[in-house]
Every structure is written in structure tokens, then in C-alpha cells.
Amino acid sequence: MRFMILIKATKDSETGVLPSTELLTEMGKYNEELVKAGILLAGEGLHPSAKGARVKFSGGKRTVIDGPFAETKELIAGFWLWQVKSKEEAIEWVKRCPDPMPGTESEIEIRQVFESEDFAPSDPTGELMEKERQLRERTESKGR
């Protein structure tokens, strides 16, 4: 299963303070460990929300709001996408992460990514049944 690991923003990350050379080195080492363990699928750091925007939906209306956004603790400063066997494994890996925001309290959040089987209840017949019908009638070559 996949987990999205969200590094929460802090005042520093939101004001664009770059990580120290030391932290960058440590994070590099940690990332390498994740790669060598075969669990890292993707990961990026995000610019401060000042460079971002939001689009608000309300009925048919769309409103664009430019950053920065106020609720720092709810914002994201970076993410990883991991493939692991359990939430516990993700937690164990996060516990090994270097302190991402030294000198200030910060948080890393672990969220499971939806897999296709999670959607089975919301795809009752429709398209998938149509696929099955086609499968029965068409006899295209088997390949991988």
C-alpha cells in the first residue's frame, strides 16, 4: 500500500528560510536510505504558500485566492510517496527521519493513498461492465 508523507510547514519554511547544509546532507542520506530500502516512489519540497494560489469552489462559482495563507500549521512544505506494507511501517520510517524543521516544533503527517479496490463500491456497473462485455465479444490477441 502507498502512503503520502506530508511535512507540515513552519514559520521558517513559509518565509522561505532554506534548510542548512547540515540538514540537507542529513535529508540526502535519509532519502538514500529510503531508495535503498525500495520504498520511495516520489518526493518533493514545496515553495512557500506565498508563491501558490487557491481556487475556491462554491456552487458554480470559482474564486482565485493568491497565497500566502495564514494557517501555517495546516500547510505543506514537502511530501514523499512511499510504498510499504502497513501504516506501522510508514510510522517506523518517519520516526527515523531527521528533524525536518530544527529549532522549532514541527509535524509529519502520514496518510494512506486510495487504491483502486477502495473505489469498488462507487463503480458498481457502468464502464467496467461494458469492458467485460467487450472482452467477451472481441478476441484481440493476448499480450502483456
Binding site: V35, K36, A37, G38, I39, L41, A42, L81, Q83, K85, S86, E88, E89, I91, E92, W93, E115, S116, A120, D123, T125, E127, L128, M129, K131, E132, Q134, L135, R136, E137, R138, T139, E140, S141, K142, G143, R144
Partner: protein, 423 residues
Amino acid sequence: MTASATQRAIDAIWRIESARLIAGLARLVRDVGLAEELAQDALVAALERWPESGIPDNPGAWLMATAKHRAVDLFRRNKRLERKHEELGLELEAQQARTVPELDAALDDDVGDDLLRLMFTACHPVLSTEARVALTLRLLGGLTTGEIARAFLVPEPTVAQRIVRAKRTLSEAHVPFEVPRGAELEARLSSVLQVIYLVFNEGYSATAGDDWVRPALCEDALRLGRILAGLVPKEPEVHGLVALMELQASRLRARVGPSGEPVLLLDQNRGRWDQLLIRRGLAALERAEALGGARGPYTSQAAIAACHARARTPAETDWMRIAALYEALVQLVPSPVVELNRAVAVSMAFGPAAGLEIVDALLSERSLEDYHLLPSVRGDLLVKLGRLDEARAEFERAASLTHNERERKLLLDRARASSRTST
């Protein structure tokens, strides 16, 4: 933490730590089987103590220290291992006498090499292929005997026995715990790659049982492949294999219909293909090719898979290129199965008659006698040529040969569809 929460946390720690624990211990005691038993002992100790004491800050170091103590105790006391005691006891005690941090540092330094040694040992040619698979999943994948048994649909005692025997064989053959050098490296590496791909394929299209795919097994194989790519980053075929697995795995969720039936490549909803895995696969393929691996069998197959991955619709598939890649692959690894795949590609590029010509030449091939895909492909081509009665017979024959229930049902449906259209 509740007891079951601690249990789950220990499972997770085991998954992360077991391979390097076993690998480090194996270097210490020069015996993979014994190393695994010591690691298991440490796990049992953790299961006994951690629910009370809490999980230590560095659980990996705790497990390693515990296992090392057991190793020393064992060598001191166990008469059954007297011979080993003579060989190794002194060395171990001498090592133990040195400061522990020094030893830990030495173990840490070599973690990568240890893991690689473990992989090469688990896939040693003195073992049967089945034993290599079971041992690799157990020692490097951290799977339990029960998990391996479920994955390969064999009884648990069979797997347990396979593992015990494999460990004994390695020990009796005095298989050194090392990475082979020179010319031997290539041969041994191909055994490691074969084992990983075998695990992947068992997950990707199960040879038996009720499920057409078992994604968890694909994930295990991918993880092993990615680990191996990190350990030997300069070997093109390792990246080729990873590319092939990433690209194939990108289609896993499109490969199964709502009631678990197989959905063939050209019928798949490409919107359900995993674009992240496709990007990772294409990147791994580029690395393999940049390292000069374009003519390696895994890299070639990855190149074929990449042709499918790049086509946004089935009609955009570059069948000419795929047929050419198969042509090269047949030269590289002459095999009737590859030739059969080439027949499919040729039929798509140059028409069903050209494909059928290749397939018919394979009919006398004894190794394909019981291979259900031969009549299945032949049936496809016959349908396209309008020879429906012959096609029906081929689909029925294919259905009688497959051991996978999902696939059997699909083939019988096709047989019925052929006869319906012909009457």
C-alpha cells in the same frame, strides 16, 4: 500502546530491519541459516520484552546486540556446533572482546555489501529454483513462512521444509558468504534477477489458483529489485529488470475487471494505468540503456513494455518497433515462448496470416505442448482470419491446459463466442 499495536509495530520493524540484521549476522557467523535463527531469536526476545518495556529508540541496534549476544552464547555452549566452534568461536569471542561500538561501526559500514552477499547466497545455484525463491523472500523480503506459502499456494510445511533444506544445503556445500567476482558475477547475478522476476510474475499472472493477479507479490518483487538496483547501480540488466517490472506493474489495476476476470492489454482502460510507475519504468529503462544494456534480455523486454506504455490508445501502438524488438530478443534468447510473443507482434504489424505462419511453425515444439498460450494465440489469429470452428477448438484446448480459474473461464467464453458467430 496496546498489545496488538506493539505487535504490529514489531512486525513493521522486522520488515525494515530483518534483512540487514540477517546479513550482518551472516558475515559474523559465516552461515546464513544460523544467522537467520539468531535473528529470529532476537525477534522472539523483542516480542517478549517490548510490550512491557516499550520499543527502544533504536530497535535495529537492540535486535543486533541481542542477536550477537545469542551468537556468542551459542558458540560457547552448543555442542552440536562444536566443529563451528573450533572454526569460529575464538574469532567471535575475540570480536566480542573488542568494543561494541567498533563492531557496530564495522557492521554499519558494510551494510550494503552484506545485503548483496545475502542476495547472492540466497540465490546460489546449488539450490533449486523453488528454494531460491523461498529463501530470498524469507531472508530479504522479511516474509513469514505462512506468507510465502499463501503467495505460492503451497502448504506451509512444504515451504518450511524447503527453507530448512535450503539452509542445510548452503551450509553443507560450504557456500561462501560473498559477492562473486569476474565472470562468475554475471552468471550469479542473472540467477538473482531470475528469482526476483519469478516472484513478480507469480504475482502478475498467477499460474494457479482463483486470482488472476496478486499485487502484494508484485510489490515484494519490485521492492527487491529496487533494493538490488541500489546495491549494484552499474549493472544495466538490474535497471532493465526494474524497468520491466515498473512498467508491467503500472497496468496491474487495469488488468482485472470488476469480478476479478483478466482484462487483456488492448482492452485495458489506459486511464487506469499508473503514470507514476510508467515514469519510473521509463527512467529505469533509460538508465539501463545508458549503461549499455540495450541488448540485455530484461532491458529488451522493458523496451517492448515501454512501447505499450507510450501509446495513449491501442491504435497508437508502434507494432513495427515491437516486432523488431522481439526479432532481436529471439536472437538474444532463443525461446519458443518469445517466438510466440513475436508472432503476436508480427500479426499486429503485418496481419494475422503472417502471425499464424510463425505460430504454426511452433506447433511441433515439444516444450510448448502443454502451454495454454499457444492454442490461445492461435485461436485469436484464426478468429481474425474467419476460421471460427478451428478457433473454437483452440480456445477449448487452451482452457483445458491453464491452471488459473479466471483464465479458464475467459477462454471458454471465447470458445463459446466463436461458435456463436459461426452458426
